[in-house]
């Protein structure tokens, strides 16, 4: 089987075909790489939302005309910090965050270690996504809730978040895909997963077949996330009438 495929590839002019096919078909390699590709970004996404969701809410509720205005200086610092983190290219941010990874996890290499830079990069992005979603809500709806005697907390939990749920889901889909992309990039510096395989083997060692397979798998993963996200978004949105 392995030899047959290798011979076929060889006949198409592929170099080192046997080595590549052996690598790809070894059940320990690709499934594990897919797992690694998903697990670090997934955990990072969870942490990013733990930080970014409250921040995004604060960005909307705490502004001057928000439902609970916060000191202007606090908002200014928050906005600047988010912009700052978002303007650093991910690879550079990752290197900069190494000491933090070492501090928290005791290491700065390996898939688990990428969770820290991924979280640091994704949290401000998530905050902006959440902010954008919450801004879509009609001011009148919030006012109606206020007129009914809603507290700030109730407006956030019972009005803003539920009313913006479809948009938040769509934002989360975006975040997941972006973090997945960052994760693949992180593969180049000590991380694992499909990104690492594509870079190290595919690019580094000229194993083009491995490169393409890894990239195609990444594309498929992104497609799946996007499709699930869009379906979920449409399904939860009661503004869309389903026949």
């Amino acid at each position: 089987m392995t030899e047959k495929i290798a011979a076929l590839l060889e006949s198409w002019g592929v170099n080192k075909a046997l080595e590549q096919v052996e690598f790809l078909l070894d059940p320990a390699n690709i499934p594990f790489a897919i797992w690694e590709t998903l697990y670090a970004p997934l955990l990072a996404a969870v942490f990013a939302y733990l930080i970014g969701l409250p921040l995004g809410i604060l960005l909307v509720t705490g502004e001057e005309n928000g439902i609970r205005p916060m000191p202007k200086n606090l908002m200014r610092v928050l906005n600047t910090l988010i912009n700052l983190l978002r303007s650093i290219p991910f690879l550079i941010l990752m290197v900069m965050v190494f000491p933090l990874s070492r501090l928290i996890l005791g290491t700065s290499i390996g898939t688990t270690a990428t969770i820290i830079p991924l979280t640091v990069a994704a949290a401000p992005y998530v905050a902006r996504l959440v902010e954008a979603s919450l801004r879509e809500i009609d001011r009148g709806v919030v006012e109606a809730a206020q007129s009914m005697g809603c507290s700030t907390w109730q407006i956030v939990t019972k009005v803003m978040l539920p009313e913006c749920k479809p948009s938040l889901i769509s934002g989360a889909t975006n975040a997941a895909i972006t973090i997945l992309g960052y994760g693949a990039m992180a593969g180049s510096i000590g991380g694992g997963g499909l990104g690492a395989i594509a870079l190290m083997r595919g690019h580094g060692r000229g194993q083009t077949v491995v490169l393409y397979v890894a990239v195609i798998l990444l594309v498929i993963l992104v497609q799946i996330i996007q499709t699930v996200g869009t379906r979920l978004c449409v399904k939860t949105d009661k503004r869309i009438t389903h026949k």
């Binding site: 709806v141 006012e143 007129s147 009914m148 005697g149 019972k158 479809p166 939860t236």
Partner: protein
Amino acid sequence: MEPIIELKNLTKTFGAGGGQVSALRDVSLAVYPGEIFGIIGLSGAGKSTLVRCVNLLEHPNQGAVLFHGRDLTGLKEKELRMQRRKISMIFQSFNLLEQRNCLDNICFPMELAGIPRKEAKQRAMELLETVGLPDKAAAYPVQLSGGQKQRVAIARALASDPEVLLCDEATSALDPKTTDAILKLLQTINRERGITIIIITHQMSVIEQICNRVAILDAGQVAEIGAVEEVFRNPKSPAGRRLVSPSMALPLAEDMPLARIAFNGNASADPIIASLVMDLGMKVSIMGADTRNVDGKAFGTMLISLPEEAEKKKTILDYLNAFAGVTAEEV
């Protein structure tokens, strides 16, 4: 009778420096339990700002908002939230929660008040019945027409068992027929539940149809306040005249003596002027008229020119005032 809501010397200014807008200037008025009180004015007159001051969605810069004699402006946030439950509000754009179905929209205020879900649902069903949408419990707002949305909004407003219902242009987004139906519903609610209603509108017809008293707001000030028939038959302020008879607000020659004739439905307009000319042998011209004929009876006002001589003026006014349902005075 004690007013249920009393606004005292409300002042509200938006912005600062050059871009400052005085939305309310020293507005005072009282609304009594059980009445339907209208506030009318042109766009930008400050109506929304005024009604939003009643439940403190807008905080006035100065003045007091008394609810049962108690000033709301001084209340702590938590206490204010409790009071707000007794003052419901409906809006021009309905402001329903779009991700909740009708039943859950109506349950919302009860959820806030901590009423058990089962009890809330049952009450919400009753309220849907009240507003005439018993079969829309599971429908989402997007599936409803404007009129239906406003009905759900009214049901939601009633869910907290309020004493006052504020309506900010509640019918302005609706067609005339739907407006009519919503106004009738509000009237029924007022009558059957004894809820005091404050209606903000720029439409005369709304005030005419259901209000007991009306305040005319002009550039942030109360220009006039009184019983609806009184104000409409005989508006005293320039703003009132502009609203009641827009056609007569045209600038006329300053010194031309004029009389306003108000018809309140007990006479027909045309024969009166005709007989005036014939009986008295004096010529008058109609300068403007905003009368409506309902079953041959006239409602509205008419402006006629008067002769210069005081004696002739008096003759004409006396002649007109002798008709039932007609009031004439020099303006």
